[in-house]
């Protein structure tokens, strides 16, 4: 279905029409901030370890991070609930129209924001325009930094290359990257379902962060299927979407203060 997203005052209509396909709900009431999702995401998606120096420059690469804020003035400060922040896979994404080379298109088939690494030329315009600050840039070829290799019989070998996920591209220097909602797992599940002649079932697969969460705070699935678990959680009263007033139509719902 096509909707004119530039129509003034049509926000409700847009939200209803553009519900999306894949969605996530994050329960902040039961998130303990353990960062298991951050570690799992890094392992699943071949995310680089940037090292101490580059992290100091603010070049850390995480597709999901745990945010914490403080409320009130000292000494009466109160910590807000832990807030895992990842790409919201916006239905009306600010990052998409600014790319001069169309390296961050919107997937019509999966209703996700894509990042096409081979097309990206590294203008970093998308990261500047992302209100959630979830995009990260590869400032170096972090996976082939010589100091991280071992010299074996005159050739450099990188032991950490053995844990790369073959289903995910290893990003090279000069490209932007971000959370993909584990699109490799989506494709794998769809491929398996198709080979067995059925539809993908709810809960058949999940993203790396949701799988690793010990408190089951993260739920992933089809938001356009009313009977799916994530759809039911998303439509709870305590659900809210971040920066919804920007009309980005985020696909991640945060549940808190039940």
């Amino acid at each position: 279905m096509t909707v004119d997203l530039n129509l003034v005052g049509a926000k409700g209509a847009i939200a209803e029409a553009a519900e999306g396909k894949w969605g996530m709900s994050i329960d902040q009431d039961i998130c303990t901030g353990c960062q298991a999702c951050v570690a799992a995401c890094a392992m699943e998606n071949n995310i680089s370890f940037v090292g101490e120096e580059d992290a100091g420059y603010g070049r850390s690469q995480h597709w999901i991070r745990i945010e914490r804020f403080w409320e009130g003035a000292y000494p009466e400060v109160k910590a807000t609930p832990f807030q895992p922040m990842l790409c919201q896979q916006c239905g009306h994404a600010p990052c998409e129209p600014v790319c001069p080379v169309f390296a961050t298109p919107h997937s019509e088939a999966e209703q996700l924001n894509l990042q096409v690494y081979n097309r990206c030329v590294g203008t970093r315009y998308c990261a500047n325009n992302c209100p959630y600050q979830v995009r990260s840039f590869n400032w170096r070829d972090y996976h082939t930094i010589p100091e991280r290799g071992n010299m074996v019989n005159g050739t450099l070998v990188f032991p950490l290359h053995n844990q790369f996920n073959p289903d995910v591209t290893v990003r090279r220097r000069g490209v932007m990257e971000k959370c993909t909602f584990c699109i490799q797992r989506i494709h794998k599940a769809q491929d398996k379902a198709k080979s067995e002649g059925r539809e993908v079932e709810d809960g058949e697969f999940t993203t790396a962060c949701a799988q690793a969460c010990p408190a089951n705070a993260i739920t992933f699935g089809r938001v356009d299927h009313p009977e799916s678990l994530v759809s039911q959680l998303t439509h709870q009263k305590r659900g809210e979407k971040h920066l919804e007033e920007l009309n980005t139509l985020p696909r991640v719902t945060y549940l808190k203060e039940g």
Partner: protein
């Protein structure tokens, strides 16, 4: 300075020098292109022609194509499964590397010929399931010894076929021309 160089290039000696420089650059480029089009050095001069001619199915040695992303390249044990029963194996000079490797308990490392870059995630299963035969992409293996690509496997070539196959089906076309179908 520039004017002087230009005048020198117009003199007879200068013309010859420019010609030699241009020729050497051209031959270097031609050599580079030639090199990139050569089939890679394989551990054994494997004859696809002979094996397919004897009636061995593609999927016997590359079974992964039916079920998964990668068809796989056969290990030495698979070769040995048939070849140990063939008397010529022990005498043929072409098969000596295999016999030696088997005696030492080693394998060999095939060099994949049909490859896509790291940022392309190609899966064989849906292509085979869609009714494509091996030779549609890999060429007629009854004609070649070491496998060679019959065409450049680039995105235009992929998309041409995807568009043809999905003609008339809007949903299928969206899926088959979506960036995220192959690039992630």
């Amino acid at each position: 300075m520039i004017r002087k160089t230009f005048e020198w290039a117009l003199s007879p000696m200068g013309r010859i020098a420019v010609l030699i420089a241009a020729l050497s650059l051209f031959s270097l480029a031609a050599f580079g292109v030639y090199q990139s089009q050569q089939p890679p050095e394989q551990p054994i001069q494997f004859t696809h022609k002979l094996h397919v001619g004897l009636g061995v199915q593609c999927l016997y040695c590359h079974p992964g194509a039916l079920r998964g992303p990668s068809p796989g390249l056969p290990t030495i044990s698979k070769c040995w499964g048939c070849h140990q029963q063939i008397g010529k194996t022990q005498t043929s000079p072409l098969l000596k590397p295999m016999v030696d490797a088997m005696a030492k308990g080693e394998g060999f490392t095939w060099v994949p010929v049909a490859q896509v870059p790291d940022f392309v995630h190609f899966t064989h299963r849906p292509h085979v399931a869609a009714g494509l035969n091996c030779e549609n992409c890999h060429g007629d293996m009854t004609q070649v010894t070491i496998a060679v690509n019959p065409q450049v496997m680039n995105m235009g070539w992929c998309l041409n076929c995807h568009k043809q196959k999905a003609a008339g089906d809007e949903e299928k076309l969206t899926k088959l021309t979506d960036c995220g179908t192959c690039h992630y």
